[in-house]
Amino acid sequence: MSELVWIFLSALVVNNFTLALFLGLCPFMGVSSRVETALRMGAANIFVLVVTSLSVSFLNAFVLVKAPYLRIIAFIVVIASLVQVVETVIKKVSPVLFRELGIYLPLITTNCAILGLAIFQTNRGYGFFEGLAFAVGAGLGLTLALVLMASIREETELADVPSIARGMGLVLIIAGSLSLGFMGFAGLLSSS
């Protein structure tokens, strides 16, 4: 049990996918201008991560044993079809959210955080429950980073930012500063 908690917390803060491993930066930069949108993007990511993790456990246990060379192709096919499902559902349920997420929704397919999760999970030999804890932790970590970034960006919206740093420049600088802060967690949990 403590192993599962360890995996969860490690993926959530210490090895936060976005701020410590720099995976999934594309939605982090693109969909972080509003807290609400960021939360929903995070939720979509959590869903895709969790279902990916389940499928990867299944694939690793039953299919890829016989054909390990198909690993990356199999992962990508699974992820792409999952994102299609999410896209169709969101388009039907909330057209507004669909428009807000825009190109970043289909781009979850190429979000390296998702493929990263699948590959980490395989390389570290996580089983079903470990993979689940890892996926939920990573998803919440992504959401945490997205929401933090979005709340800071809303705050700086009224600031008198010099023209050289306006827009994406400032976002990258904030991301770097956040990442410097998250360095404080380095080495946490590793000794205990």
């Binding site: 709340s151 500063s177 802060g181």
Partner: protein, 336 residues
């Protein structure tokens, strides 16, 4: 009386005498004893380092500040430089201190549009940058020099040259001793400040007195340090009762490392702390909790800097969550 009895003007009608420069310069004035004690303990190295980090901060502010916001005279860049200098180890090469000051002001303040708009504390951002860029130089602590006049390390190392390291010079801070060798330093040494460490992380007593002065003049939100001290004391005390051999007691935790300096001078930065009273309590409690977590279970021996930076990032959130209800307002039913 020649003035008309009925004055007509826009509100506010009662004004305090405080302005940004008066507050900033009074903070600088209150830092004088802290700086003096740093120079007393660490000799000329301390003075040189503080001058270098101030020079970095002021030069950046002067060169790159926007026309409207280029206000060297308001003292805020000087505070950033001084505070950054106080977090550095005395043996650090001067060019690193200069770079840290420049980075803190440039990427911590000016890119956001200058004073009052930054998200992270510039001094701490500069320190975190130095920690990431020069992890060895910034954790080399000299113990004791032969005389007060001698330098505490290779302060004059040139940029991009590795400084001449002298083994005799490297010591360990009380926190490092506690974490890696399980040796406790006596509380009395910690309170007075006769221990190894950064320039401003030695004498807790001096910092407390200066903070008290600022709090009385209301240039400092007393709720933030109070909340940090309470959280740290409670958590450290509780853990100490559980396992006294493994976890240090509350007095050690409060007076060791940069906790005093961070709690009194850095967490209370007016720009990067919450605006509501309830928010201040939450902010302080978060810092206290993160400090304990990073110190006791993290890979680093000191976590005050990271704790404050992380809570800085949460300030927009805290502000939103603790927004006071407008007097007389009622919750809208069923949303808008």
């Amino acid at each position: 009386m020649s003035e008309p009895a009925l004055g007509v003007s826009a509100s506010p009608h009662v004004k305090g005498g405080d302005s940004t420069p008066t507050i900033m310069w009074s903070v600088v004035a209150s830092l004088v004893p802290v700086v003096a004690s740093a120079i007393y303990f660490f000799g000329p190295s301390a003075a040189l380092l503080l001058a270098a980090s101030c020079a970095g901060a002021l030069a950046t502010e002067m060169c790159f500040g926007q026309r409207g916001t280029r206000r060297l005279c308001d003292g805020s860049a000087a505070i950033t430089g001084l505070l950054l200098g106080l977090t550095l180890p005395p043996g650090l090469p001067l060019w690193m201190a200069f770079l840290g000051g420049a980075f803190g002001i440039g990427f911590g303040k000016l890119v956001y549009g200058g004073l009052g708009q930054n998200v992270f504390n510039p001094a701490l951002l500069g320190r975190a940058f130095l920690q990431a860029a020069f992890p060895v130089a910034i954790t080399t602590w000299p113990v004791r020099a032969e005389s007060w006049w001698s330098l505490r390390g290779d302060n004059f190392a040139l940029p991009l040259m590795s400084p001449a390291t002298q083994d005799a010079f490297s010591g360990a801070t009380p926190l490092g001793l506690m974490k890696f060798e399980q040796t406790a330093t006596s509380s009395w040494d910690l309170v007075l400040g006769t221990t190894a460490g950064s320039l401003g992380e030695t004498s807790g007593l001096v910092i407390l007195v200066c903070g008290l002065y600022l709090a009385v003049r209301r240039h400092l939100e007393w709720r933030i340090p109070a909340s940090i001290f309470c959280t740290v004391a409670l958590l450290a005390g509780g853990l100490h009762l559980l396992d006294a051999a493994r976890y240090p007691g509350p007095v050690f935790t409060l007076f060791s490392g940069g906790l005093m300096l961070g709690a009194v001078y850095m967490a209370t930065d007016m720009v990067t702390s919450p605006v509501t009273h309830r928010g201040c309590w939450i902010f302080g409690a978060g810092i206290g909790l993160l400090v304990i977590v990073i110190r006791l279970w993290g890979g680093l021996s000191e976590g005050v800097m990271y704790a404050i930076l992380l809570m800085n990032a949460l300030v927009p959130f805290i502000n939103r969550a603790t927004q006071p209800r407008v007097f007389g307002a009622i919750e809208a039913e069923g949303g808008s």
